[in-house]
Structure formats: C-alpha cells, structure tokens
Symmetry: C2
Amino acid sequence: MSAPKIVILGAGYGGLMTAIELQRQMSYNEAEVVLVNKHDYHYMTTHLHEPAAGTTTDDKVRIDLKDLLDFDRITFVHQTVAGFDLDTRSVQLADGSVLDYDYLVVALGSEPETFGIEGLREHAFSIRSLNAVRVIREHIEYMFSRYHENPDNPAFTTIVVGGAGFTGIEFVTELAERLPALCRTFDIPREKVRLISVEAAPSVMPGFDPKLVAYTMERLKEMGVEVYTNTPIQSCTKDGITLADGTHIPSYSVIWTGGVRGNRIVEASGLETVRGRVKVDAYLRAPGYDNVFVVGDSSVIFNKEGRPYPPTAQLATQQGKACAYNLLSLIRNQPMKPFEPHLLGTLASLGRWEGIGIVGKMKLYGFWASVMKRLSDMRYLWQIGGVSIVLRKGRFL
Amino acid sequence: MSAPKIVILGAGYGGLMTAIELQRQMSYNEAEVVLVNKHDYHYMTTHLHEPAAGTTTDDKVRIDLKDLLDFDRITFVHQTVAGFDLDTRSVQLADGSVLDYDYLVVALGSEPETFGIEGLREHAFSIRSLNAVRVIREHIEYMFSRYHENPDNPAFTTIVVGGAGFTGIEFVTELAERLPALCRTFDIPREKVRLISVEAAPSVMPGFDPKLVAYTMERLKEMGVEVYTNTPIQSCTKDGITLADGTHIPSYSVIWTGGVRGNRIVEASGLETVRGRVKVDAYLRAPGYDNVFVVGDSSVIFNKEGRPYPPTAQLATQQGKACAYNLLSLIRNQPMKPFEPHLLGTLASLGRWEGIGIVGKMKLYGFWASVMKRLSDMRYLWQIGGVSIVLRKGRFL
C-alpha cells in the first residue's frame, strides 16, 4: 500500500504552516506531501504595504520556500492552480498538467472585492501580492517623475487610497512617511502632493475601538493625509475617482484596499461558499468532503455569537497547524481535534515607529504598539523558520 | 550713465561659463548681469545618461546655481525663455514678463532631432534634461515591475536605444551594467531582457577612429547589447519600433539619442540659422548684431577645412569664457579676441570603469579612458566651482 497523497494549494500563511507542520510531524513514508504555489517564495501579506510604499525592499517580505521546506520530504510544484475537481480528486494546473490527491488542503487566499464599483477593477491597483505591490511603488514613482511635464496637473501627485481598514491605513501612513524623501528625489514641493484616504464607513478602521480610531485620526492629520469618511466611491477611471456626491478627484494612482473576498477558483469548484469562502466544519473540512480541508482566507469560521472571524494571518497560521494535526490524525486513524482559535490581539502600524492595537484586553498606542507588532512578526518568523529566518527577515529597526 | 545690461539666456555649459567669468572679471558696477534659466540649477548634460540608467543619483549631475554664482552680483531669473526680439532688444519670458538688454548672450542649447521619423517625437524618450531622464529611469523600472503581468510580452523588458553616437552608447552601456541588479529587484530572468542599439550609419560611434569603434563593439557584445547598424528606424509607436526592412521590435521603452538640432526659440528669433544653430562670427557674435553673442549648441563654428565643429561641452565651455572676455572688451572699449577652440580630446564611457577616447593624438581604451574621463570631469568642476564643488559632485568611484 502506497502512502496517501496530500496536496496543498497555496503557500500563504495557512498553506505554508500546514506544510511546515506536516514536515515536522510526519514519519518517513507516512504521507506524500505536494505543495503547489504560483511563486517559489512565501510572502508576508501583512507587510505588503511596505514594499508598496517603497519603505522596505521586496526581499524583506518574502522568504524562499526552499529555505523553509525540505524539498526531499515535501514535493514543491511551482505552478498556478487553475482549478480542482472534487469528484475525480484532481487538481488542474495552469500548464495543463493534473495532480491527483487523496487529501486536499485548499489555502488559496483571497482576492480584492470591488463591490461592483464601476471601473475599480480595471483602473485601481490592489495590495495583493509582491508582484502587484512592486507595480504600485514603481507606478507612483513614475507618476512623480512626470510631474514636471505639467506641474498644474494634480493627477500626477495625488494618491487616492480607497478603504481605510487595516491595509489602507497601514499603506497610507507608510507612504506619508516616505513623502519627504520622494519629494526631494523628484523635486516636487510637498504641498503639491495629496494623499487621500476614502472610506464609505463612518470612521477609519471601521469596527475598531473608538479610542484607537481617534488616535489613528490624529496621526493621519499630523501626517497630512486627507481623510474622507462616510464617502463611498462611485466610479474610477484612469484619470481619478468620482465620489458619491459627484466630486471628482483627479489622480493617476488609485489604490483599492476596501475589501477582500474568497478566491474564485474555490467558488468554481462547486464547494458551497459565502462570497467565495467555504464555511468549514469544526475540523476545518469542507462540508460533504471528509478529505478536503480549507484554511486561511479561503475559509470562514464563526464565533459563539455566530459572527464570522475576520480573515487574518494569525487565524490562518493557527488553522494551518490544526489542519496538519487533523490530516495526520486521519491517516493514523486517530481522533481529530476541533479547531479553536486563540487570538492574541490585533496590531496595525501607522508608519515605522507608530501603531495601534489591542493585545488581550490592553489597548496599545504609538511606539509600544509598533514594538509589539515587531515582536509578533518575529514570533511568526520563528514559528516558520527558526532563528536563521528571524535574523534574515526580521525588521528590527 | 547706468551700467550696460547683459542678459544671458540659459545656464548650460556655455551660458554658465559666461556668467562665471563675468562674475570673476568685471569690476563693481561695470555691468549689470542677468542670467535667465528654466531651473535654479546647472546640470551636466554629458552625464545625463547615468541618472537615466539609474546608476547615479540626480544630485550628482546637478549643481545649484546659488553655489556657483554670487546672486548679489549676478541677478538670477528663474524662468523659461519664450523668445527674444532683436529689434526692441528684449526677451520674453514664459510668465509674460519682459527683460530688456544691451548685450544678449544666447546659450539655449539644443533639442532632439528626429529627422521626421514617424512617431518618434510622440513616443520616444530623449536624454535632454534632468527632468526628462528621471522619467526614463522611472519608466524603465515601471515597465520591469509590470513584467509579471504577462511574462510572454517582450515589450515590457525590451529597451531600444535609437542612435549609437556618444549619448546612445554611453546610455546603453550604463544600463547594461545595471541590468543584473534590475533583474534581481524585479525577479526577471536576464535572458528575458533585450537591450537593443539601432544605428542608421554603418557603425556605432559614427566618424570615430575604427580601432575605437571595434573596441566599443567588443564591449557591447560582452555586455549582451544587440547592435543593429546600417538600420534606419522607419517608425515608432507606443508599442515599439519598425525598422526600414519592416521588422517590428516590440518595446515600451524607446529612447532616442540619434541627433540634436538647435533650439527652436533661436530659429524663431529671426537670426539666420542652420538647423537651428547660428553661424557666429570670429568673436562669437550673431551676423548683423554686434551686441548679440551665441555660444554652445545654439551656435556653430567651422574649422579651417570648412567643417563644422561638433557641439560638445568642451567647446561650449571655451566659448563661454571667450564670450565673457569679448563682452568686457566691448564695454571697456578694448579690442576683442577671435575665438580659437583648443580641443583636448574626446572621451566616452562604456559603463563605470570602461571607456574609449582620443586625447591629443593618443587613443585610450578601457580603464584608462574611464580614469581620464573622470579627470576631465574634475577639471570642469574645478573651473566652475573650485575645490568644494569637485569634492561634492566629483565621481571618484
């Protein structure tokens, strides 16, 4: 009898952690593990706002998979997933090849949700991958370089960030801190640059603690970011955005961070989804399929009050560990464990040395929040790669 | 009687040197000197290929005029020249204001000559100012960042340099040296990048010594630059170029270095011009106007064989000095001196530590040519600003 074959789709927080835990815990020949990923590296999605703004190099937010995984034990397939078929238990890859599986782990992450806002999909950038954020950074710099073509055209130096949730605020503050240097490089007076944060909800960081929201607003003001709350975007063109009240803001650089939804590949598989996310059972399995696990942003789980947990890196990482445990339990004919999230807190950066967050019941502001965020990053790096990865990728300063 | 008013148009090599020499030699109240320039800095045109390729920061090739000139003695007008009127002895500025003069120094430089090649003016970049080369650098990086949108589209990573004279070759070699770093930053395999030099003449560096041409060809080959000689460009669109034989080269980054012509403002003034350049008399004055001097690329002078001297920084600088001398001679009612160029040689870089050139009767290759070029740069910096400018702007390494 040959070893059962586990195929993991995606090497984000959930898929990577599943692979790492399997590698750590499985015995020789207990299972054949295949990891499929579009890139041969893992990137830290929660830090993409930094290379997007140009404050960190790309290499600080990505880790080569070969440095995290033993490719003799985990087979790595460098390919894009095109789809999967639950009946034939097979995965289709973009190059036309097919992988069979006994167990499947779907960890394909999320995609931007544009809520049907006209033109957003075509004309706005999203902070969704390393390749995507490189384009954002280079686009902004390219537009700044063209300022002198016509200093009276504000679109070159106006940056609109749609959505003032975590990603939007982390990106806009990061970029605000870089502005003085950018203005020097491109000979642009600071007052010619507009950084605009637009949010449909009544406040920035919707749903967050009001005191932390107030602190964030204070910081944004200090940094010269214009904030429009209660302001839905009506449409987006290549020349800027139009707000619901008809105001047009000329901008060649619109970055949309207003929401995510599940991956369309998951939707297309026939699994039951809510906005592209699979409502998994207590063991993280897709309803009706005992051999299919779904983790990270591709899944959705609910708390005791019946409210969905927001999709975060922390949750995905914990799910990855639990998924590996349950997979090995199934293979070993041992009882699985229901997944229980243990969320330690939430932290957002507001530039390099500023942040806000909640850890346990404690609210954190400013410098200490930024230190705490660094520590939680270190913890993650430690979990996936030990001390060598912490030293190479940790952002100590 | 008030002091005569000298107005200098342009702070390139010729205009700047005129202003500096006047500042050094004129006595208190002997003349009122006004320098008009579009930027409040001087830039070293012969080095623009470096920030264009991204191998030098912008600040290494520009010098604030306030660091070179005493603004109590030279009045600086930070404006773009719109035109000048020889009959009313007045200069029109872009902001609508007018400056009168007793003596005029026209040093407005050159513009790209596209020889009527279709689409070149609209779609190709030129290495003509600091603002223009920033756009080139950022454009190339932006296109590289977009490579992952479609790795099968070669236009993102093909750079076509039209013209293989000095500027074209210096730029393409500089860029070739930066390619490994660029490919690393943007995750692009080197073999996906094409650097193409296209020249209508039978060889690169047309008119240069055959041994030096052969050396240049060798270097280009080593660096992986594709060279097409005897190959006129037929047309250029936003998607690439078409050669005379009908071959289409897909490229979003076409840089045209194929020729310069005099400034159109000079042409429009009514002065007699040949391709926008004024054939000046022995004292550097425009024919028919004893109070109008023309220096640098706006002028043309001929050697004993009746062949025009090529427009170079070296020539412009020497003309600037001679022009200042003759201006003061006129004011002092002393005899002017006819201008005699003393050309010391010609040097071209082929990347950071390689070059070719002729100094006196000696041919130089490789490392020693690059060292010699650095020394001649130092000499120029010394001439305009003394030791402090040499230390701040010199490129020692």
